[in-house]
């Protein structure tokens, strides 16, 4: 237990860096600020690794699980005798696993940003926000109760908003940041109501369920309701249908931010939430869990189809992220019990995929960032043939593509295989559907890969002043994170992940289901093969033919199935026009007008009577005299009535 007394530093160090850079950032040179943040992140990473090492090497409890530690748990806001809002640190297998994921990716992104953001205006601000985000995300995963989680949940939302809108002079970035914030905030409304319902019926926000099982059992249908509402918040953060629409737009932010927030960490918060509440879901609301699984499966398919036709490389990656998070949710959704041998495999598979996906998706984004850095464009048509110019980026990107496509021995194969095995156990239909989506994943990732690095030879454009602009490999500070993450992607699959994380905490030995593995690899290879056929060469005969052949489907997918338009219609034409406008009219013409009139009345009266306050004592005395006379006359009337006049 003593070795965990430094764990608060994991949160406090990034917070200190945020305060330092946020308040005094402009006193530092840009590079100094970046290095301060990176060093702080290195220290945090070291502490997190140390914590993880001592946690996973400590002895297991007699029942085969790792002990759950809460080194710190302070009552922050007492709400009543029993109900309190606590702030603390909870260490259990998944939170420790998340600590590793977040600190690793965050450190890599910090290092990478030193090169990628070089010379940008607001370099210090950028690193301040990165620190804020890291602090919030770490606070989220070590939360000891739902309320602390919700607090940090909103903080990651805010830092995501700040970072998407980093280029605040660009209208599209502002619109994207607002969209991301409003959509997730809207979904968080469900989360908050869920928390309140849960707290009301159970009387505790703590993740220590065992003490409250009786209250949970007597709450009856209120528990599934509360959990369903919480899942809505998770769906918003994890960009599940129909809240997915903010994530592609969030790509307006700097690319390293997309890698950190919108690929590896924040967007998996919803998955983490479900995993955190997993015992409740399995025990009391299995139907809600399965429903989430169906939504996840639909989202995975939907996003994969859209990813096949997008031409902005970051958008392809964004839809691929949505699709992969769909996989994780499906894996949780198909769990039917807490026993990993009987229906609880999905929990481990989901966490494993979360882990591997964070690494290779961050790698893909950072690779895409290096490409964008080199060609100054996000569009596929400006790329092609880059393998010659950027060998390191090319190799690492290929590794990540193979990993996400599910080709052994890269990490994605192992985690995806577990997910597919879990879905086949739940229902074969679901299994085949997810296998098909895995094939689609392989197809669109290799479409992306070929369009960036092969296809047509790169057209060297003559830049400013006539000298030709040739793309070149990124500086070492940017390629190091790529190489590191590529190395992780190569070996992460061989981590005996089930030993550390499983649905009931006992060690679970991962074994590859041969049938599932062979099927998924064959499907992935077919997907890669089709992509090779269509996009490897410079001519796009097959691709163009297909686009024409499926004209309607193609156009719909390019427009992301018009979901944004539907939202636009619902919000503008229905909500704004029919509800907001009348209310705004009422507010302006009735409520505001009433107070405007009051103010006007006071103003007019003041103008009229301000002459009385002239400062001349004698004029006051005249008024005084008139007052006395009036009172006397009044007294006479009161005393004698009207007869005294006669």
């Amino acid at each position: 237990m003593e070795q965990y007394s430094i764990t608060p530093l994991i949160i406090l160090l990034p917070l200190a860096a945020f305060l330092l850079l946020g308040l005094f950032g402009n006193r530092f040179k840009p590079l100094t600020a970046g290095i301060i943040a990176t060093l702080e992140m290195t220290a945090t990473t070291v502490i997190a690794y140390f914590t993880a090492f001592s946690y996973f090497t400590s002895d297991r409890l007699p029942d085969g699980t790792f002990a759950t530690f809460t080194p710190f748990d302070y009552v922050w806001l007492p709400l009543g005798e029993k109900l309190t809002f606590n702030m603390g640190i909870l260490l259990d297998p998944i939170s420790v696993m998340m600590l590793i994921v977040i600190t690793t990716v965050s450190l890599m992104v910090h290092i990478y940003s030193l090169g990628y953001m070089k010379g940008e205006k607001g370099f210090q601000r950028y690193f301040a926000f990165l620190s804020l985000f890291t602090m919030s995300m770490l606070g989220l995963v070590v939360a000891t109760n739902i309320f602390q989680m919700y607090l940090f949940w909103e903080l990651v939302g805010v830092s995501s908003y700040l970072l998407i809108g980093f280029y605040y002079t660009k209208p599209s970035a502002i619109a994207a940041s607002k969209k991301a914030f409003i959509v997730t905030r809207f979904a968080d409304l469900g989360f908050l109501i869920g928390i309140l319902v849960y707290g009301y019926y159970v009387g505790s926000y703590s993740f220590e369920y065992s003490a409250h099982l009786k209250a949970i059992a007597t709450a009856g249908t209120m528990i599934p309701l509360a959990l369903g509402l919480m899942i809505i918040g998770g769906a918003g953060k994890s960009a599940m249908f129909p809240f997915h629409l903010w994530l592609p737009d969030a790509m307006e932010g700097p690319t390293p931010v997309s890698a950190l927030i919108h690929a590896a960490t924040m967007v998996v918060a919803g998955v983490y939430l479900i995993a955190r509440l997993f015992p409740l879901f399995v025990g009391f609301a299995p139907d809600v869990l399965h429903l989430a699984g169906y939504v996840g499966a639909f989202t995975a398919l939907f996003a994969a189809v859209i990813a096949c036709v997008q031409t902005d490389i970051k958008r392809v990656l964004a839809f691929s992220t949505i699709s992969q998070i769909g996989f994780m949710i499906v894996a949780l959704g198909v769990s039917t019990s807490a026993d990993p041998h009987h229906g609880g495999l999905g929990y481990m598979a989901s966490m494993f995929h979360l882990f591997t996906h964070a690494m290779f998706k961050a790698l893909l984004f950072l690779g895409a960032g290096a490409v964008i850095h080199a060609v100054h464009s996000n569009e596929m048509k400006d790329m092609g043939g880059l393998w010659k110019y950027m060998p390191l980026t090319h190799i690492t990107f290929l590794v990540a593509c193979l990993a996400i496509a599910g080709i052994p021995p890269f990490s994605g194969f192992f985690s995806k295989d577990e997910i597919l095995a879990a879905t086949f156990m739940f229902s074969p239909t679901m299994g085949y559907l997810m296998t098909f989506i895995a094939g689609l994943t392989a197809f669109y990732m290799f479409r992306l890969y070929y369009n960036i690095f092969w296809a047509k030879p790169y057209e060297v454009k003559s830049g400013h002043g006539g000298h030709a602009h040739k793309p070149h490999e990124a500086p070492a500070v940017m390629t190091f994170p790529l190489l590191f993450l590529a190395a992780v992607t190569c070996v992460a699959g061989f981590i005996p992940f089930g030993n550390f994380v499983s649905s009931n905490g006992e060690a679970y030995h991962i074994h590859i289901d041969k049938q599932v593995a062979v099927t998924s690899v064959v499907v992935a290879l077919v997907g890669i093969g089709i992509a090779t056929l269509m996009y490897r060469g410079a001519s796009r005969k097959v691709a163009d033919g297909l686009e024409r052949g499926f004209g309607f489907l193609y156009r719909a997918a390019v427009h992301r199935f018009y979901i944004d338009e539907i939202y636009q219609f619902v919000t503008h034409k229905i909500i704004f026009a029919l509800i907001s406008k009348p209310i705004a009219w009422f507010d302006r013409h009735v409520v505001d007008a009433f107070f405007d009139r009051l103010a006007w009345l006071a103003h007019v009266t003041a103008t009229k009577i301000k002459g009385l306050q002239g400062g001349n004592v004698q004029s006051y005395a005249v008024v005084f005299l008139w007052g006395i006379l009036a009172i006397m006359v009044a007294l006479l009337f009161i005393t004698f009535g009207v007869f005294w006049l006669m």
Binding site: G615, N616, V617, Q618, A621, V622, L625
Partner: protein
């Protein structure tokens, strides 16, 4: 014997002359004189009511003596203030006594 009403008419006249002076004069000294007129009108009333309505008692007389003493004190204080005003402002116009507004 002169009827009581005549005295009262004189005192009423004095009272309103005093009030009028108090309102219209611009000089602190004349305002003070007006105030004295008002006070003296009241003194006359005390004496007259005592003499005509309750001749066997002396409260009215005492009260008018008391009032004369009081007005002397008041005049002394007022004149002292006026002197201070003059030292500060070089005049004793009532319209220049507006420094509290600044």
């Amino acid at each position: 014997m002169v009827p009581m009403q005549y005295y009262l008419l004189v005192s009423t006249f004095m009272l309103f002359v005093g009030v009028f002076g108090f309102f219209t004069r611009r000089n602190l000294l004349t305002i003070l004189i007006s105030v004295e007129l008002v006070l003296n009108a009241v003194d006359i009333n005390f004496a007259v009511f005592n003499r005509y309505l309750y001749p066997e008692q002396l409260e009215g007389m005492f009260f008018s003596v008391f009032s004369i003493g009081l007005s002397a004190v008041e005049a002394a204080v007022a004149i002292a203030i006026i002197i201070v005003v003059y030292r500060n402002l070089e005049n004793i116009r009532v319209s220049s006594l507006n420094k509290l507004k600044d």
